[in-house]
Point group: C2
Chain length 190, copies 2
């Protein structure tokens, strides 16, 4: 169930077989079970065709629906997200970038021009329905409200502040501190 997303990482054409099991560090039957939930797209006695597999996974994750993504906040974190490699693997990239700092508006970063935050109202027209929030925590909720108001359907939130949105909107929060705090739990007290 969980390994699915990870799998598409090696989307590039490569060998095919249930040995991608140990590539994602799970046992082979987990792969088969997970796949069988969505239908069978493997050939018995042979394995899985990478190209077809990638296509199927994209369909499952709705990645072929052509979702466009906006990034709000071009501080250190925002810049890092923009430069993040691996978005290409999933077939979608960041289409628009917003910030409220006049010094940044108009600049080009990674081939995308930073726009003023007031231009968020163009999201609907541009059919952008995903957004990444990379602003200071004080501003996170306000930005989220704006995004929702302008038709965003899913938000990836980097601020440690919990944001509240209508329950129709899907939010995934990445709290670095929380993840780091989980680490000591697995470490023997020395």
């Amino acid at each position: 169930m969980r390994g699915l997303a990870l799998l598409s990482q090696q989307g590039l054409g490569r060998v095919s077989s249930g040995k991608l099991a140990d590539f994602v560090n799970v046992n082979s039957w987990q792969i088969r079970k997970d796949f069988s939930y969505f239908g069978d797209f493997g050939t018995r006695g042979v394995g899985y065709d990478i190209a077809n597999l990638a296509r199927q996974i994209k369909k499952i994750l709705n990645l072929d629906a052509g979702h466009k993504t906006a990034l709000v906040g071009v501080g250190n974190l925002g810049s890092a997200v923009l430069a993040y490699p691996g978005f290409g693997t999933y077939g979608f990239s960041i289409t628009a970038v917003f910030d409220n700092d006049p010094a940044k508006v108009g600049k080009k970063i990674n081939n995308v021009t930073v726009e003023d935050i007031s231009r968020l109202d163009s999201l609907v027209k541009r059919q952008i329905d995903l957004a990444i929030i990379a602003v200071p925590e004080q501003a996170a909720q306000a930005v989220a409200d704006l995004l929702v108001m302008h038709g965003i359907k899913g938000i990836l939130n980097f601020s440690p502040r919990r944001i509240t949105v209508p329950k129709k909107i899907k939010v995934i929060t990445i709290d670095i501190a929380t993840d780091l705090a989980r680490l000591p739990y697995y470490i023997p007290s020395s």
Copy 2:
């Protein structure tokens, strides 16, 4: 089981009761069940004492063991991590920062001086056993090897590249692209 880490977020003294349940968006019995796995530290008819609760959680997560953390890589991502608020909530902060760029070595960022990557050998002496990798993906594995060699026990990895370490070392990988890719799955195809 899962809500535990999230809970310590509001570590600051505050009201006490099972209503922190809806604060973390779970039902009240989940809180109680999760807590009861580690022993009972609530008073019947009253609730939980925040101060004591925070102390207990820290003990469970091994946060009171005084783990020190090093950050490797002071690019956009590294800087963002350094500036990330919320680490204080968990009682630990980043003790050392490393980079291989001579232009950055010696600079002070957020009260921590950037050291050359070759100084990683001082980790053992300084009793640093956690590390955050925020370097370009090509360098991730090499840095991980170095860290392991110098006694790091847990790694928070931001690169989309899968890194391999001895299985005694705990690695938590944060792959922004994967998280973002999960988003469309929950969105109606419109």
